[in-house]
């Protein structure tokens, strides 16, 4: 568990370094994701310890957005002046983007080999 977590942090650290060094618009953790993915491609069979650590981290991924989300309260005054265009555009655009993208991808993605809509593994494992 410790080794797996250390490996994840190392990927993130390298990601941050690359992002800073080349002043890329992509944040360090996203580059770290890429590095980890390349590592998995090379290794082919990822160690169970690593996949367990990753699954555990992702099981409650949404919890991790709470602290930043509470930060919304610090910006309420700023939103007041332009609230209608902000709220309307955010809601309409987001739902439009999700519906249109899902529609496009359901038409374009090749049919999955087995259980195309597997509800079998409902919930995070």
């Amino acid at each position: 568990m410790i080794a797996a977590f250390a490996l994840i942090l190392v990927c993130q650290l390298f990601g941050e370094v690359i992002s800073e060094l080349f002043s890329l618009p992509v944040p360090g953790p996203v580059i770290g994701l890429g590095l980890m993915f390349i590592g998995l491609l090379i290794k082919r069979k990822p160690p169970k310890e690593l996949t367990d650590a990753a699954d555990n981290l992702l099981m409650h991924f949404s919890l991790l957005f709470v602290p930043a989300g509470v930060g919304v309260i610090t910006q309420i005054d700023r939103v007041k002046s332009d609230w209608l265009p902000i709220v309307a555009s955010l809601v309409i655009s987001t739902l439009l983007t999700i519906a249109a993208t899902a529609f496009l991808m359901s038409k374009l993605l090749p049919k999955a080999p087995a259980n195309p809509t597997d509800t079998s593994n409902e919930g995070a494992k």
Binding site: I8, L33, V87, A100
Partner: protein, 241 residues
Amino acid sequence: MEPADLTQLWVYLSTKPLTGLTITLVAYAIGFWLYQKSNRNPVCNPVVIAIAIIAAILHFTGTPYSVYFDGAQFVHFLLGPATVALAVPLFRQMETLKRALPVIVFGVLFGSLMATVSTVAIAHFLGASTETLASLAPKSVTTPVAMGIAKEIGGVPALTAVCVIVTGIVGATLGPAVMNLVGLTDWRARGFAMGVGAHGIGTARAFQVNQTAGAFSGLSMGLNTIATALTVPFLWHWLFG
């Protein structure tokens, strides 16, 4: 205990990182419990409930956000490692990825443009200031990147942060309902759309429902970050520059 003592106790406790951390976990646990109770109704989003509970506590106790964040930062920190960990579910989808790479790239570009252009167009039509438009444009990517883009094109990064969170919450709570309405059942397409439209919060929601959806959401979220970071500044200077 006298009310005065209670206030003093809170003043003491609120300076400890432990309090912010505990409040975060307890509020989320309550949110998740309500979510389960509601038969996993997406409108009972655990993130939204947790944010509402914590915001109410901070408001009624007069605690500044920065004091709360001293403790909550331990949870916030894990966002980085969790983003890296998305490589694992992504790797599990390797077979689909290999077969559908051009489609995936096209889908991300489509979603990225759709999100940016429709937000700016609607807000512009409703009379938002140029500064607000620039703050709204990058709303569909993860917070740090969105703030960077907003700064580059003349927006207010703090306002962008709010727009990003609201986008994620709207997408995670209402997105599934809209997709159900139009009869889209492919978990891959559904997850993909959540990642493009509602970044990490949408991805978190996708993981709660289905592993495949989560993996595709993580994939499109990552690619969308890159696509948006490259296209928005270019589009902005072309349209308003």
